[in-house]
């Protein structure tokens, strides 16, 4: 199979601003790419140019080897897209009917369409919801249904725009596990925009960072972490006011509130674990409560920017 995504010097301008600025990258079949950047950095604009919704101002773009502007329908047959805020489902009909209609829209053979629907419904554990009107689904159920809808025609490329936004921890986890399994089985190429570092860590072997329309980083997550440090934050509530926890191996003290009742420690998940840091803290003080925070994308991008311009 040929290259899945190819952009060269891709530019998109809106009136006076340049939303995408000379973007060049290539995605090969089977890759899983996290496409991250702050709000308004140009992520959605890029996706719209990849799918033929927006015409590039200049430059070259090919999706599955096709020109999205001239061959939009052919591109649509080979790409599945989930826009976080836009639905492919019919809100006033039972969920199962949306799959039937989409199978017809993609001109799947009826038997093949039913088999593929059954497979996706089983894997995403949506059987009980097939008879439920789409408007009555929970957010997590709806997102799983959207992803099933985007995969119904077995696309070569799956584009997910903020797939886990607003989901609870368990729903996120199930969705990620499904996507990992789907990719393992079908070799589907994945392009994912997200604000959730967890999505990137668990799903993507390559990260593209876009900042103000331009590509600021292209490499592995480990490479990104090495550049900016993808640290986690362990926020600990202690039983009694405690002196600053500066001597915990593998972690650095970031903040210290309420006379040492709440202290935050940053650690690198690649070199130690939350459990190890917690054990070391417990050895010196009594822990009442804790929370683990992941750095958000904005933070990573900000640090990336700071690192590249000292």
């Amino acid at each position: 199979m040929s290259t899945i995504i190819e952009t060269r010097e891709l530019v998109r301008e809106f009136k006076k601003t340049r939303a995408v600025d000379r973007m060049s990258f290539v995605v090969e079949p089977g890759e899983s790419v996290g496409y991250i950047g702050a709000n308004g950095a140009g992520k959605s604009t890029t996706i719209k140019m990849l799918t033929g919704i927006l015409k590039p101002t200049s430059g070259h773009v090919r999706t599955c080897g096709l020109d999205p502007m001239r061959q939009r329908i052919a591109v649509a047959r080979r790409v599945g897209v989930v826009f976080g805020q836009r639905s492919q489902l019919w809100w006033d009909l039972p969920l199962g009917e949306s799959f039937t209609i989409l199978a017809a829209i993609h001109r799947l053979d009826p038997a093949a369409g039913r088999a593929r629907t059954r497979e996706l419904v089983d894997q995403l554990e949506m059987g009980p919801q097939l008879g439920t009107p789409v408007r009555s689904l929970s957010l997590g159920q709806r997102m799983r249904a959207e992803i099933a809808a985007a995969l119904l025609h077995t696309p070569d490329l799956l584009i997910l725009d903020e797939p886990t936004i607003g989901l609870d921890v368990l729903s996120k986890q199930r969705l990620r596990e499904f996507l990992v399994a789907e990719r393992r089985e079908r070799g589907t190429t994945l392009l994912l925009t997200t604000h959730d570092m967890g999505d990137i860590e668990r799903l993507c072997d390559r990260v593209l960072v876009i900042d103000r329309g331009a590509l600021a980083f292209d490499g592995t997550l480990a490479g990104l972490a090495a550049t900016v440090g993808a640290q986690r934050l362990l926020v600990i509530d202690l039983a009694v006011p405690t002196p600053p926890l500066t001597a915990i191996a593998g972690a650095t003290l970031v903040s210290n509130e309420s006379q040492g009742l709440r202290q935050s420690l940053a650690f690198d998940p690649k070199s130690t674990t939350a459990a190890a840091v917690l054990a070391r803290v417990s050895a010196v003080a009594e822990v009442r409560d804790l929370a683990i925070e992941e750095p958000d994308i904005e933070d990573v991008v900000r640090r990336l920017y700071a690192a590249s311009r000292p």
Binding site: F14, K48, G52, I53, R77, V79, R86, A104, I105
Partner: protein
């Protein structure tokens, strides 16, 4: 051919099922559009209760014009009237969801609904047509039958073209529904009048710019063999299909310009 249309058949069938899910509201909706049809008819009735002839038409002739225009409008409204929800789709970003499906955008929007409630107004118009044809003094010839059929088909096409052109313009205007409504609903109103009540410039507008005079008035005058005039010779009625083709040419251009603008400006 059947295979090519299968996606649209499934889409329309699903729309009909969705409307049938709430039977009570569906019945009220139909009654509502019957009410609209009756109210439109009442206007004709009130006028001819007071005058015998208006704009060269007596009550029966006016009834024929009313019936033909309302049949064409309600059929067009049934098939493509929901194109006027396009601004809502644009604002909600839902148009993007249509773009990532492997079907033409206009075909998807047209089949995104089938407003069966409009059957109410259609049935009032059909009843009016039956009464008008039964009471009018018509010399029935194959030509008259052909003109009637041609008129209903072309009239529906003309109104459908108006809705489509208006839809294309929505991509530029977004909040311009009021402006485009003046052509669609205004056109529907003009179509059910005798063109002779309008001053010359307006008659030219409704004949040659937005050709709603072809939907009912010109064919009715020809079928009833009423005296035509300088602006409405009897043979002009036979140009109704031509008016439909030209309307669709303009509608197609409007639609293409609209989608290009959307892809160019990003909605």
């Amino acid at each position: 051919m059947g295979d090519r249309l299968e996606p649209y058949r499934v889409l329309l069938a699903s729309r009909m099922r969705a409307q049938m899910q709430y039977r009570a509201s569906f019945v009220t909706d139909i009654l509502g559009t019957v009410g609209v049809g009756v109210a439109e008819f009442a206007e004709v009735w009130v006028i001819f209760h007071n005058v015998d002839v208006l704009g060269g038409l007596d009550f029966t002739a006016a009834l024929l014009v009313f019936a033909l225009s309302n049949i064409a409008f309600s059929l067009a409204d049934l098939f493509v009237g929901h194109l006027d929800t396009l601004p809502t789709y644009i604002r909600a970003g839902q148009v993007d969801a249509f773009y990532v499906r492997p079907l033409p955008l206009l075909a998807q929007l047209v089949t995104s609904d089938l407003s069966l409630r409009r059957i109410g107004r259609l049935s009032v118009a059909l009843l009016a047509l039956t009464v008008a044809l039964a009471t009018a003094d018509i010399a029935w010839t194959p030509a008259v039958v052909a003109l009637l059929v041609l008129t209903v088909v072309s009239g529906t096409a003309i109104f459908s073209a108006l809705f489509t052109a208006a839809g294309g313009l929505q991509f530029f205007l977004v909040d311009g529904a009021e402006f485009t409504n003046s052509f669609t609903y205004g056109g529907a109103y003009s179509a059910q009048q005798s063109q002779q009540v309008f001053p010359g410039p307006l008659r030219i507008f409704w004949t040659f710019v937005v050709p709603t005079a072809f939907v009912a008035y010109l064919p009715a005058v020809s079928i009833l063999e009423l005296p035509g005039d300088r602006l409405a010779p009897l043979w002009l009625a036979w140009c109704t299909p031509l008016a439909a083709v030209l309307s669709w040419t303009v509608a197609g251009l409007c639609w293409r310009a609209g989608t290009r603008h959307y892809q160019g400006a990003g909605g």
